[in-house]
Symmetry: C2
Subunit: 80 residues, 2 copies
């Protein structure tokens, strides 16, 4: 989406990479939020920005609880 088609490869310009991160992070969190509501599911999203700062989202449960649900799965079920 946007004025031009974007190739999916690393954005080399630092400023541009940070700007794109901010915009797409917001979009991704919005989508994760919508999915959690529409489908009534547990979800956890963890991201580290290009400068190393944490961003995260989780729905109805605390993120630690979702991670625990993942970690506590039998190892065979963690394939995805």
């Amino acid at each position: 989406m946007g004025r031009v088609k974007l190739q999916i490869k690393r954005i080399e310009n630092n400023t541009n990479r940070q700007v794109t991160f901010s915009k797409r992070r917001n979009g991704l969190i919005k989508k994760a939020y919508e999915l959690s509501i529409l489908c009534d599911i547990d979800i956890a999203l963890i991201m580290f920005s290009p400068s190393g700062r944490l961003s995260h989202f989780s729905g109805r449960k605390r993120i630690e609880d979702v991670l625990a649900r993942y970690v506590n799965l039998p190892e065979n079920d963690r394939g995805g």
Copy 2:
């Protein structure tokens, strides 16, 4: 996106909820993938489907490594 505007609230029809989950899960993972490449970041996405099955994605690192990076943050930095 779609033929009609969708209200963001729980989809009550079971079949429909599962179908929407499948479609949007794919979209969300694609977006997470693109973000990880474009901005060269660590990302982890964990979802449990309406029927309780796990879906997950992580970029260049194993998901366990991203979770560890999160868990090992000083507690004050986990605000997001």
